[in-house]
């Protein structure tokens, strides 16, 4: 059984159809890319999967369960975590607190325990802190744990966002243009990091990238979206030579 299967998803905003008859599936531990020109509806698909928008029609099966239309926090608890195209960190908080917040869903003590400062609270806080640091270490951010998130350089903010998403211990991680605004070297490193995260945490990853060549290197399978519809799906080589895909991308400057 695939980890997530999307059937016949529709979404329109007023008169504009952003996603039309979208069908999709991803296996356990698969790394899939979703590409398409600007405004194709990629981010909208992510918003529908994670519950930010409610679909007009269609079903999203995650581990066999229909999650379409559930509130975002429930979807997150079921094991889907994401990053944002426009970075959305908790800007005034420290790097460490950003990750700690993502660990809240498994908080090991009660509200009363926190207010009364029980021993369980202190043990729990210690556990949260250790775990948060562990995630920061993976992304090489542990030495910046006390910095305010908005003061980090751009590339590190992107990495922190992934660390934070990972801290919710998802089985599906979805990344919206994680390399946007990075230079080629940073992008290359990031892609390697993404591949290694998948190995280490046995995750499935769904990746949006605007830049086609980049996705080709790392993704096992690719979906191409144009005007809200899938115009091609398959292995990178197949996509590279697909006439429709080339046309869609010729429509804009690459």
């Amino acid at each position: 059984m695939s980890l997530m299967e999307i059937k016949n998803l529709h979404k329109s905003f007023g008169g504009l159809t952003a996603v039309l008859n979208f069908n999709f599936d991803i296996e356990k531990e698969e790394l899939v890319g979703l590409i398409g020109p600007n405004g194709a509806g990629k981010t909208t698909v992510f918003n529908l999967i994670t519950g930010v928008y409610k679909p007009d029609e269609g079903r999203i099966f995650f581990n066999g369960q229909d999650i379409a239309g559930l509130p975002p926090y429930t979807i997150c608890k079921k094991g889907i975590a994401r990053t944002f195209q426009n970075i959305r960190l908790f800007n005034d908080l420290t790097v460490l607190d950003n990750v700690k917040i993502a660990l809240h869903k498994d908080v090991p003590y009660s509200l009363m325990g926190a207010i009364c400062r029980t021993p369980r609270f202190f043990r729990g806080e210690k556990k949260i802190e250790d775990k948060a640091l562990e995630y920061l270490k993976i992304f090489n951010l542990d030495n910046k744990k006390d910095e305010i998130a908005s003061n980090l350089p751009y590339g590190e903010q992107r990495r922190l966002e992934i660390a934070r998403a990972l801290a919710t211990s998802p089985s599906l991680l979805i990344l919206d243009e994680p390399a946007a605004g990075m230079n080629p070297q940073e992008t290359h490193d990031l892609m390697n990091l993404i591949a290694s995260i998948r190995e280490r945490f046995k995750l499935s990853i769904l990746l949006i990238e605007h830049d086609m060549s980049l996705v080709m290197g790392v993704c096992e399978r690719i979906y191409v979206l144009d005007y809200g519809q899938i115009i091609a799906e398959g292995l990178p080589e197949k996509i590279r030579n697909d006439k429709k895909v080339i046309e869609a991308y010729l429509g804009e400057e690459v």
Partner: protein
């Protein structure tokens, strides 16, 4: 049925006053996204200027109305320049607190100079006369209040729809940065908005003086809040919405006083506010806009 019609007639003039005040709220909110809590107090200052024009200078009511409008237009511009402009880049809550500060300042400066006591608006400006039309009683006072308010609203519509100033106001409220690129002076446009909004409030103040016969330095608070509710009801930032909202609030208030308990008159305004906010926060005429992620 006739009584119901009579209530509507009674509500019309009060509604027109609320509409005038609501317009200022809406215009200012539309342009700088600030709930100008001092707006009701500008109305109060207008009422006082009108009052002194009539009693001390002995001018007729039309001149008093114009004097109040002119004075408050300047007052509004000054308040914006001194208190709100420095806060344009800071948080909304800081601006809100400043507006509350300005409101208190105006109220208590007036209390200091003119005592908190009620003053009776001179009756001789208006020798009351009732007309009987199709079984309804309509006073010349109601007609004057309603008529002046309508004329002012027509003038406002003209300014907003037909003049360069109006176009600039609309442009700045839609997209400030784009407006700057088009060569519109944002500062000047904001000043003009405050001037017009405050002048309308001043007119409402004089009309309220005539309507209720009395004025006092704290008279702006409750009508200010109700007019604000009217602006939210119509969809804050939307000019026709403020007019409709004002009339609805005026009618509703006279209905509640006429048929139900006048003790709950003020609660009704807030009840309406909460209902509209829960059902359609963008107001009757507003569009729902979700956040793009």
């Amino acid at each position: 049925m006739l009584e119901f019609m009579q209530q509507i007639v009674n509500g019309l003039s009060l509604g027109a006053i609320y509409a005038l005040i609501a317009l200022g709220y809406t215009m200012v909110y539309g342009i700088i996204k600030l709930i100008n809590f001092a707006h009701g107090d500008i109305m109060m200052v207008g009422a006082f200027v009108g009052f002194f024009s009539v009693t001390m200078l002995g001018v007729n009511i039309f001149v008093a109305l114009l004097a109040a409008m002119a004075f408050c237009a300047l007052l509004g511009v000054a308040i914006e320049k001194v208190a709100y402009k420095p806060l344009r880049q800071s948080t909304r809550i800081a601006a809100l607190i400043t507006a509350i500060g300005v409101s208190l300042f105006l109220e208590y400066v007036m209390v200091y100079f003119f005592t908190p006591n009620q003053r009776v608006f001179p009756a001789e400006t208006f020798s009351l006369h009732n007309y009987h039309i199709a079984g309804l009683v309509i006073s010349n006072k109601d007609m004057f209040v309603f008529g002046s308010a309508i004329i002012l609203m027509i003038i406002l519509q003209y300014i907003i729809k037909r003049t360069r100033t109006g176009k600039a106001m609309r442009a700045v409220s839609i997209d400030q940065e784009a407006a700057v690129l088009m060569g519109i002076s944002v500062d000047k446009t904001i000043s003009i908005t405050f001037a017009i909004g405050s002048a309308l409030a001043a007119a409402a103040g004089v009309l309220i003086g005539i309507y209720y016969n009395t004025i006092n330095p704290l008279m702006g608070i409750i009508p200010g809040l109700k007019a604000f509710v009217a602006a939210v009801l119509g969809g804050i930032g939307i000019i026709p919405g403020a007019m409709v909202g004002g009339f609805v609030m005026g009618m509703l208030e006279t209905m509640v006083s006429g048929y139900g308990s006048s003790l709950y008159r003020d609660a009704v305004a807030f009840g309406v506010l909460i209902l509209i906010l829960l059902i359609k926060p963008s107001g009757l005429f507003g569009k729902n806009t979700g956040e793009k992620v």
